[in-house]
Amino acid sequence: MAAEQSEKKPTSWLRFSSPRNFYPLAGKMIPWFMGLAIVLVLAGLYMTFFVVPPDYQQGNSYRIMYIHVPAAWMSMLIYLLMAFYAGLYFVLNVKLADMMAGSLAITGAIFTFIALWTGAMWGKPTWGTWWVWDARLTSELLLLFLYLGYISLRAAIDDPNRAAKASGLLALVGVVNVPIIYFSVKWWNTLHQGASITTNKTSMATEMFITLMIMVFAFWMYTIAVVLMRVRNEIIERERDTNWLVEELGKEK
């Protein structure tokens, strides 16, 4: 056992790519990230409702931006991250990378949905309509479809190895297509309708910027915590026949 441990040392950065080593590590990390997420969300929401002043044009309705903007950013970032892990899976052939990709997809889809939903709630009082076929809205909607396709493909294939490879390939195809889709939609939008609403580029007040950043970090922490939880569940499901997991779960009780 001791010899085995010392052999692993040189490749220490790959050490946690094994579910056996990753599972307890993730367990230790989750409370920290979750705690940070809760503290930051509470702080951010307090700033949102009580500290930042109302917008001189949009009044109070703009406050939903502190949820909407981080959610929209995260939705796009998570797709890239997911494709990165899918690529990592093909290069290193470690199951954990695939589990990360699969777990990220669900959080990404949820954030995409939240971004669309809060965007609609902001659009009604500001633009007077729930939805416009604006380039950004349309590409966000298509991003949601890409996530849903990825999640459905994973869910439809029972064999975890095949599911990992097939969905990984789809994520890579998707990430190649994302810029093409984005620029096509942008071009389509400028061709079809001249009267699309443009957000005016006024500089943001410092406290608004700080609030936004707090919320962004809160969303990051939440994503990390939730993804780690989901990966742990996935490990339990896949490794349920192994001895180390039984021991590990026994320790937790």
């Binding site: 459905s152 493909l153 439809a156 294939i157 390939l169 889709i181 096509s184 061709l191 079809h192």
Partner: protein, 222 residues
């Protein structure tokens, strides 16, 4: 290399000719979907003319997507696909040949029917011409992109619906520039940009998708 393509394309066309109803179904689907729009939206020729290019494009896109389920399934069922993977010829080349054959069988008939359906929707002569050319450039892209989805969903339960979920978002750029050409022409802005972009999509997908589909086929056949 060309002898392989030639052989594969001929084989697929011969097989399809023995069972022509498979090819006809997606054609009839195309015609029926287009003729539902006057019933569903309005028989007003002015409205139909405005939405016409989009309707024909979306119908062609759906017809192509429905036909994609057949791209590999027959070869998968009778074991030919395994032999193809085992053969010394590169699998990507065979995928490409299958896509070419599929386009000749389902893409070209759609393009040929387009002027007729354009007349039904009251499109003018030059509009029909542009629309037909965009479909000529666009349908092979749809088939090439779709082949990835078809390969990934091979033998997966609920494959047909899943296939549409996977590839329809990827069809969006082709649809945008396909229909965009007609409206751009009507706005007096010229169509070269749209045709160039569709051509670029075609070249890119010819280069990249056969490899992706071949990889997907290998994953599905493991």
């Amino acid at each position: 290399m060309f002898s392989v393509i030639n052989l594969m394309v001929r084989r697929d066309i011969l097989l399809a000719m023995r069972r022509p109803q498979d090819v006809m179904t997606s054609l009839f689907f195309f015609i029926i979907v287009v003729s539902l729009f006057p019933l569903g939206v309005s028989p007003e020729m002015e409205i139909l003319r405005t939405i016409g290019p989009g309707v024909i494009w979306v119908a062609a896109l759906l017809a192509t997507m429905l036909s994609l389920g057949r791209l590999f399934s027959a070869d998968h069922q009778d074991g030919t696909l395994e032999q193809m993977i085992l053969s010394p010829q590169p699998l990507a080349l065979m995928v490409l040949s299958k896509c070419v054959a599929h386009w000749l069988l389902t893409g070209i008939p759609l393009v040929i029917l387009t002027p007729l359906l354009g007349l039904l929707l009251g499109l003018a002569g030059d509009e029909i011409q542009t629309l037909t050319l965009t479909l000529l450039l666009g349908t092979p892209v749809l088939i090439l992109i779709g082949s990835i989805g078809a390969a990934l969903t091979l033998g997966v339960r609920g494959g047909g619906v899943l296939l549409s979920l996977l590839i329809l978002p990827l069809f969006v750029p082709v649809l945008i520039f396909g229909t965009g050409a007609v409206s751009s022409m009507n706005a007096g802005m010229g169509v070269e940009a749209h045709f160039s972009l569709l051509g670029a999509f075609l070249v890119l997908s010819l280069l990249l998708t056969p490899w992706a589909s071949a990889a997907a086929l290998k994953i599905s056949m493991e």
